[in-house]
Amino acid sequence: MDPFILSFAVVNGLLQGGIYGGIALGLSLIFGVLRVVNFAHGSFLMLSLYLSFWCWNLLGIDPYLSAIVTVPAMFALGYFVQSVIISPLIRRERALVVEPLSALLLTCGVFLVLDNVALMAFGPDVRSVQLSYYLPSLMLGPIPVNIPRLIAALAAILVAVGVSFWLRHSHAGRAIRATAQNRDAAAMSGIDVPKVYAVTFGLGCAILGLFGALISPFIPATPTIGLAFGIKSFIVVVLGGMGSIPGSIIGGLVIGVFEAVASQFVTATSAAIFSLGLFILVLLVRPAGIMGKA
């Protein structure tokens, strides 16, 4: 294999993997704290993409600046979904134990509603932000690196570091970690568990809000775009370790680089199959994922 092509593949894989990881962060965070598998994860990303698109289309806001709209809006939506839709399910369970299956089905319903409401409201047309300025590719030697993708991939790492730091050192972060470890003990120590849940869900969605704005310059918005990212996010999170913040980024990078390099030898379709093979292999050796605690 030509070393130029191989290094190009690695660069592509790192960029794409970083983006996968960043998008999966929220899913991992929500699972780690609430033990809720959020099937509507991709749909929230789809909404963020539309939000960013409409900000640009109707208000003329630059997609990167639209993050100041999408992040709070998605936080509010996440907070709402948790406190109004999922919370009654948790309340019904006496010991605050959610049946993972019923929560999964519930978020699956949210996914179906959101995707179809988007189809009804926005129609099936593909929509895309067009930057008014031109960002030339950064040349890494002979390899062109697309700036918007680089920004998104770097943002993923920054957000992961930021969220980890915040969870470790802030009061709210400690409350979230305490709730994740033992919700009954946390409740007895005076932590408002339902609020922690709502904030965590909101935070998970806010991260998607950020990534919706960051990827809108190169990913077109369609009502079905969420599913493609949603499924990738699941693979990334399970591979990296459910609930682990660094695991999400590492999982993304592993999948990204593996698929990029493998698809230079076989068709990209088969490479995706092999990456699922790798996924099974990793889970056989480390059932909790690369960074997960068993």
Binding site: A9, D125, Q130, E259
Partner: protein, 431 residues
């Protein structure tokens, strides 16, 4: 029910009043919208109204609706006493299994006289099998998979190109431009979506390429709904095809076209898209114009048809399309329009909504004028397999922001000069 009634009202004039009254009572239950004296003929269209091809399906739906409105306004099916046409839609969700159950529903529950659809080859292929089993004529709209009209079916008719024609036309265009300029690519690459349409197109390209002395250096399929094409594009970079044949639906084509631009990937003899995404007006709204500069697009539609036709119905359809969809008539709108007019033509000649009689009338179709030719054909006439042998596409090149027909040479407007080979990214202004 309406079928029997309609036969009787035309056959027996003295019973006309009774028949009309009875029919009125019957249709009152069936449909408030069509509760009037003239009988209605219901036809069904299975289209991808949601899922990956939803954008295309909704355009075809608009085309079919425009045709139905026009036909009813002009007095309906005259040989059936002015019977009104009614079209019901089934949403295939771009999926084969859903398309099949929707077809069953339209045939058994809606009792349609004829069917049309279903754009996606993967849906049309099994769904037409259902239609054949129920002996219900199906007018294929949009789907190009060769085998659809190669199964000795009696009830399946296709107005548009086979995949095979599309591929041949693309290679023909490359041959023509090479002959005109004396500059000929030696290698081709083909990159396509991995379902029925893309795969059959790639197989045909490879067949014609080897016959005409091109070597295919890249053959890459990708499943629908990709979020990134950098891996595939890197393969284009490493295998260096001199011309790249592309077959993708809108969302994937959009990402591919953007990344081709971002990566400044030069393909000396250009990108040759076989429609799909590049036929979709929504595509051009969502892509920066410089990303699709010099693209060759093969489509079953002459992009400048409204400038050459004088048919008032086609011009009106173009106007209505602008009102409803916000953009001029596309290949898909034209195909929906054409499909309904072909069924209408057969209904006129059959004088009945009986499926077998309608099938025989469709088989005898020979249309040489009128709105059925909205896609730019000169004639519609089916061979014994139900394929319109007069179907042909047109290939345009995006020259200075305008899509101009360059193939066939006879269709090229004076003053249109194809760009061959295409400029590299560094030679293009503003990129």
């Amino acid at each position: 029910m309406s079928n029997h009634r309609s036969q009787r009202t035309t056959a027996n004039k003295s019973n006309l009043l009774t028949g009309a009254l009875t029919f009125g009572a019957l249709t009152f239950y069936a449909s408030f919208a069509f509760a009037q004296a003239a009988p209605t003929v219901t036809i069904g269209c299975v289209l991808p109204l949601s899922g990956g091809s939803a954008s295309v399906g909704s355009q075809t739906k608009v085309g079919a609706e425009i045709a139905v409105d026009q036909i009813n306004r002009e007095g309906g099916i005259k040989s059936m006493g002015g019977a009104k046409l009614n079209v019901v839609f089934g949403d295939s969700q771009s999926k084969a299994d859903i398309g099949v159950t929707e077809t069953e529903r339209l045939v058994t529950r809606e009792n349609v006289a004829a069917l049309c659809g279903a754009f996606n080859s993967a849906v049309t292929f099994p769904a037409t099998e259902v239609a054949e089993r129920y002996k219900t004529p199906w007018v294929v709209v949009g789907a190009v998979k060769d085998e659809i009209t190669e199964r000795n079916f009696k009830y399946v008719f296709r107005i548009n190109n086979k995949a095979n024609y599309d591929a041949r036309e693309q290679v023909d265009a490359i041959d023509l431009l090479s002959k005109e300029t004396g500059k000929k690519p030696k290698t081709l690459g083909v990159i396509y979506e991995g379902t029925d349409w893309g795969r059959s197109h790639a197989a045909n390209i490879k067949k014609f390429a080897s016959e005409r002395g091109y070597s295919v250096v890249l053959d890459e399929a990708a499943p629908p709904n990709q979020v990134d094409f950098s891996n595939q594009l890197l393969k284009v970079r490493s295998t260096k095809p001199e011309a790249l044949i592309v077959a993708f639906y809108t969302p994937d084509h959009l990402i591919l076209s953007r990344q081709l631009m971002e990566q400044r990937l030069d393909v000396p003899f250009g990108i040759h898209s076989v429609g799909g995404g590049t036929e979709d007006p929504a595509f051009y709204k969502a892509v920066p114009p410089r990303a699709v500069g010099y693209y060759f697009v093969q489509e079953d539609f002459q992009i400048d048809i409204t400038e050459v036709t004088k048919d008032p119905m086609i011009l009106e359809a173009d106007k209505r399309s602008k009102e409803v969809l916000g953009y001029p008539m596309s290949a898909y709108t034209a195909q929906g329009l054409s499909g309904v007019y072909v069924i209408k033509d057969a209904l006129e000649r059959a004088g009945s909504a009986d499926r077998t009689k309608l099938r025989d009338a469709l088989a005898a179709t020979d249309i040489k004028s009128g709105p059925a030719l909205a896609t730019g054909y000169q004639q519609i006439k089916f061979d014994e397999q139900g394929q319109n042998t007069h179907a042909h596409g047109a290939i345009s090149q995006n020259i200075e922001g305008k899509r101009r027909t360059v193939w066939p040479a006879e269709n090229r407007a004076p003053g249109v000069k194809p760009s061959w080979p295409v400029p590299t990214w560094s030679e293009r202004p503003n990129s």
